[in-house]
Point group: C2
Chain length 415, copies 2
DNA sequence: TCTATTTTTTCGAGCCTCGAAAAAATACTG
DNA sequence: CAGTATTTTTTCGAGGCTCGAAAAAATAGA
């Protein structure tokens, strides 16, 4: 239900605006902030003076900037790295990583760990996550007080309240409320996010020119995932993280998918599907658990060399992705696409069939104008997105020490 | 770019809140409004006193209510019907209608007209629309001054700024900026909306319990359309009205669709597709321009009677709709569905295959819990939605006589 | 050293919302 | 029927916030 704006909300929101302006712009002066927010200089002056006093922002020493201009030089404001820290935990197939990030967004410490997620028990999985976080939190170099939030990203479906993993291809376990578990264990607010959504968040921070209000991040990996930003907001389902692009139906009753159903896009374009087709196995053949990156690279190499089953496998992948994107574009209209993940390195093999398929769909009207970018390495993206998401939450909690989240349009899903 | 909240925005927004509370609740008292908005009694008192003085709201005479309770009786507030009026124009296949609606949402006058949209020239089409509006506006019974907005709904794709029809199945013409044309002609602000989106808006007003934050309205007619509300907001594409559910790909390279492409959902579930399959024509047969409702009813009757090609045609329609919805649910998660339009009366023939198909998709996890409602008559819904949308705009323009739409989150797409 | 220029802070004015108290309007009670 | 209890609505002063104008600060050029 929509709710009125109270007088005290005003300052709170404008503080948030100033903080987010600084986070976006890097080192804006008060005058620049006034310009982008539309607030008066007096207001910006008052708010930033508060924020500096509270240790959230710092002024940049004048000596570090060359003014060149006449008049009183602008003094840049920046986030105080020591104002807080966040933990970004990424859990993917056989791999767990954590990074400590300061308030300015710099990685302070990190740790990575291989494990066998597919065979681990529920408790082992939870235990490993708790343990890796504990090692970071108990690091004597780190001021525990300052860890303001933990964000955990996982390959799979999470709930729409960012509390739990509902289902994941990396483990047979389901419904693990990681956010609640970590929160109880460490007394630090935690959130649970979908990996592809975090990729989208990261892309928006990395290249806001290309990835601004509407774009799509597709993960081409063992499975197919998607992060979607529409109208500047991260898109999620009504109950879950949603955006399960890989499980849109490409061919009713078609190839067997890892999810047990048939004809999903992933059953043609996931690594296991490409591998299956390259080996000319039946579409009904049980998907293999994992295909190594090296093996996929070898497949791609053979596909580039000769026009054999490998090339045909990539063609089929492109076709599935193309028709899938075409159906997606029928719903949301065309938007820039980022292809992320190991198989994005083979996008040259995928693209022709993909474009040909899109051209046969409603989205194909502007087929030529749809642009694809590739980024083979998904892990840094996921971690980055995780970190930015956690920091954004801190931005909205440090500045709002009173009541908040009074429903309504507050606390939107801004990417 | 996000923008700060200024002091004068505060009153403007809270006025909007009060107006929309009254529009939603019917005849709420000041106390009730205070409760739903979360604002203090004093604030509500001040704002409503202003609104009454300006003729936007009126108090309901105490005699009309029975109090039963002890204490000072609540005095209900209602929209003043004379505060403004809006025009709702609906343009569909061979049919044009207009209604004058007062500020309280009651239809004051209406006019309907048959015409041959498929063969009309661009100028004739525009001319008819202008003429029917002119006849209403020049009605001596109507105070022209009070017509605050014209909303025009059309079957087809509109642009995301609600200015123009981009493409429509009811006419070979494309890119007609109806909103601009009407605005220039009559000097009254106008908007151009997609018919299915207006259906969704209307459903939300009609039954806010069932159709609240997330739901889907599917038009089963000659073509297949969709209106989608997600997180309480009307979903639109990045450039167009979007939500072209009928042109998601059901079978790559499959049946010939009215849009010229192949395998669209519509090419199996649209009236022309059901008709084509019932007659056992080839999937490549050119779609016919129109099938009468009577003919469709006859088809449905035969399908119910004997297990022949008619029943099979409806089965194929259900399958296409089911897989389409399954793919949609993969993206947005399951949500309540309203089946609207003449063919919704044959939903009994469609539902079994539809549910079977959904069960084979990612959305099928909760296949049983997905509920369908049917509403055979789309026109009243479209007009109603159109009217409510126009009135909502008036709500946000009458109360905001200053600067407005200062970008940012203002002026969202609230259904 | 003085002046022009640009940025930042200061200060009073004007709104807005809030809480508390008063006023208004009714039902119960004896 | 007068008095009391109860509920709704209005009134009024306090506190906070943003704004514009003016002042102060800080620099480059003359």
């Amino acid at each position: 239900m929509s709710v009125g704006i109270r007088h005290d909300d005003l300052r709170r929101r404008n503080r948030a605006m100033v903080i987010s302006a600084v986070r976006r712009a890097g080192q804006p002066s008060r005058t620049e902030i006034a310009a982008t927010t539309g607030l008066s200089h007096s207001t910006i002056s008052a708010i930033s003076s508060d924020l500096i006093q509270e240790g959230i922002l710092t002024e940049i020493k004048a000596s570090e900037t060359v003014s060149m201009k006449r008049g009183r030089p602008q003094v840049g404001l920046s986030l105080n790295p020591e104002a807080a820290a966040v933990l970004a935990v990424v859990l993917s197939l056989n791999f767990l990583s954590v990074a400590v990030i300061d308030y300015a967004g710099q990685v302070v410490a990190e740790e990575q760990r291989r494990l066998d997620t597919l065979t681990m028990s529920r408790d082992e999985l939870i235990g490993e996550c708790v343990a890796i976080v504990r090692r970071r939190v108990e690091d004597p170099d780190l001021d525990v007080q300052s860890v303001a939030r933990i964000a955990l990203a996982i390959q799979g479906i999470t709930d729409s309240h960012a509390r739990a993993m509902l289902w994941s291809p990396i483990t047979p376990q389901t419904n693990i409320a990681f956010a609640d578990i970590l929160e109880r264990e460490f007394g630090i607010p935690a959130i649970m996010e979908n990996d592809c959504n975090m990729m989208a968040v990261a892309l928006r921070w990395r290249d806001p020119n290309r990835y601004r209000d509407d774009f799509i991040a597709v993960l081409l990996s063992h499975g197919i995932g998607m992060g979607l930003v529409l109208k500047g907001e991260l898109f999620t389902g009504t109950h879950s993280s949603g955006g399960e692009f890989g499980h849109m139906i490409h061919r009713p009753g078609g190839a067997l998918c890892r999810c047990g159903r048939r004809g999903c896009v992933e059953a043609y374009a996931g690594n296991y599907a490409i591998w299956r087709n390259a080996r000319q196995l039946s579409e009904n053949a049980e998907p293999v658990a994992d295909v190594s990156d090296a093996e996929m690279r070898a497949l791609a190499a053979r596909a580039r060399q000769t026009d054999g089953p490998e090339r045909e496998a990539y063609r089929k992948a492109g076709e599935a992705l193309g028709f899938g994107l075409g159906s997606l574009f029928a719903l949301i209209d065309p938007a820039p696409v980022a292809m992320v993940g190991a198989s994005a390195a083979a996008f040259d093999l995928i693209e022709p069939a993909l474009r040909e398929a899109i051209a046969q769909t409603a989205g194909g009207q502007h087929s030529g104008s749809i642009s694809f970018d590739t980024e083979p390495n998904e892990l840094p993206l996921i971690r980055e997105g995780c970190a930015m998401r956690a920091l954004s939450f801190v931005d909205q909690e440090i500045f709002a020490p009173g009541i908040q989240a009074r429903a309504g349009s507050v606390g939107r899903n801004v990417a």
